[in-house]
Amino acid sequence: MKENMNPDDVKLSALLRESRVSPALPPRFQENVWRRIEANAVPAQAGSWLDALAVLVLRPRFALATAAALVVAGALLGARAGDLAANQTAQSRYLSEVAPPALR
């Protein structure tokens, strides 16, 4: 039978294709496939958190927000430190004016 088969026989090919019966898929087949794929997923590697962090850092929104927060925090703390330092300088100046070190 094989020997008689002509690959160019279009009609025969079409008939053969039609004759193939594809079985009906069980209910929720696709969902179950994905569930099994997820269940068998490769466990997280040691470096994955670093990759996730790198991805996060490279996000423009996150990078911009973090940079802005750092600048604001630095400026606020710097202003507070500057104010304290200036106050201390003024106090020392007053003290050295009214109570020269020789008298203390």
């Binding site: 670093l50 850092v57 600048v71 202003a79 500057g82 330092a85 300088t89 100046r93 020269p100």
Partner: protein, 164 residues
Amino acid sequence: MNRSLVIVLGALVLGVALFGGSYVASRHLCQVCVAQPPGSLDWLHNEFHPNPAEMARIQKLHEHYLSQCAVMCRMVSEKKKEVAAALNGTNQISPAAEQKLAELAACRAHCQSQMLQYFADVSQNMPPAEGRRYLAEMQQWTLGLREENPQPPSEPAANERPRH
């Protein structure tokens, strides 16, 4: 090296640089802006909140005291020179040197009593609670009691210190 590690480390360095840069710049700016000229009593005003009339009286007291203080400082300096001269070339304290030392001590004591009187006068020209705080703080600073009493005198009871 791992690419992610490089990115995270780079971000960390950048973050530290941003924070440090803004901290240093802001500190410097604030220090320059808030700095008071020499001889100004702004610190006293900001710290102890006398009203304008009290501040004017304090300013007068301050100027009067500074002129007295300059005279006393010159006297102390002269006495020091006399003590140095009396001690010069000897390895013993002569009666003359002792006399000069006593004069120097008396001069210093007089200066200190004038200084304490000035603090008392200034404190009386402030709101009472602030005056007490000022006097306690000045006495501690100038009589060297700060080291013996690490508790800062500038921390009055919460209800005593005015809120800014």
